[in-house]
Symmetry: C2
Subunit: 190 residues, 2 copies
């Protein structure tokens, strides 16, 4: 998605150690119009998969996922990192290491909103090592649902997440793929 | 907003003790089409305020806020409850009691994305006692910004948040106002 790539070059900050800061339009301040365009792009990329639900993880996956949900007319479930008091005692829970947080986070989905037989499209802000998205895959499998595709706004192509997901048979799409953050430069994949 | 009220009656669960569970379309599973309609309604209600930015709080405020942001062509900042590694050391931080979480949460905004002179429209999922929204007001004031309006998807009219905010001079709009959750019944305001 050219507008997203342009924005990454304009406002993204390469902090070194493989960290790309996009807090100005994705992770803290959100460019809602850009997210809308991303949602539309996901809807087009995944139109033929017969998805019945979109699954994402709080927090930063929510904006692109709800925009995709709007264009696909699908409900969006966001896995919670803490169980709220409104959630039943019996939940689907998995652990995912978060290297940007330096700790392991819980991903929790209520069985009320993820059922056996559902076709799940996973949407998140970043695809890097794939740790969070693999956690979402495990939640879908716990529920007896099948994953039909994985979409990310920004892929860090150098962290290997795509390979793991494609080996599991999933279609993987990202709207901007970064090949390298070496030498204080942002280089996109071919 | 009639569709929201209808949905609250259809899928909302009155858990007692003043707690309304809307996890099926707002707080865990999101009805993206309904949120889009809510965003449009906020954009119409607040069209004349000259807002320059929308401010919300993670997590459940994000969906309605980004939808409003799309229709108003405004950036959306969500206050974070934990400081990510990409955020500078010097931040705007306030504490807000969360009675649904039973603890005090931090609300954190980076000075990079909230500046003096901005006209801030606050959007959140719930307006109840106003504790979270008053926290967002304090963050805006810390930044030297002014609050021009407050919008909530669902107002609990019996918890007094509106009165506090209106006393401070803010225009307050909710898309569905609940007068009472007594006797296992959901009663809307007049």
């Amino acid at each position: 998605m050219q507008n997203l790539k342009d924005r990454i070059l304009k406002d993204g900050k390469n902090l070194g150690n493989g960290i790309l800061k996009v807090d100005g339009f994705v992770n803290h301040q959100v460019d809602a119009v850009l997210m809308d365009e991303a949602g539309k792009a996901f809807a087009e990329l995944f139109a033929d998969l017969g998805a019945t639900k979109i699954l994402t993880a709080e927090i930063s996956g929510i904006a692109p996922a709800v925009m995709a949900g709007k264009y696909m007319n699908l409900p969006v479930v966001y896995a919670r990192k803490r169980k709220p008091i409104t959630m039943p005692d019996q939940v689907f829970l998995t652990l995912a290491p978060s290297h940007t947080k330096g700790r392991t986070v819980e991903l929790i989905v209520s069985p009320e909103y993820l059922a056996g037989g559902e076709k799940v499209l996973i949407i998140d802000d970043f695809l890097a090592s794939g740790a969070t998205i693999l956690g979402l895959v495990r939640l879908a499998e716990l529920a007896g649902a099948s994953v039909v595709g994985v979409g990310a706004l920004i892929e860090k192509g150098f962290e290997g997440g795509r390979t793991k997901l494609e080996k599991m048979g999933f279609r993987v799409e990202s709207l901007a793929c970064i090949a390298s953050l070496e030498n204080e430069t942002i280089t996109f994949c071919d």
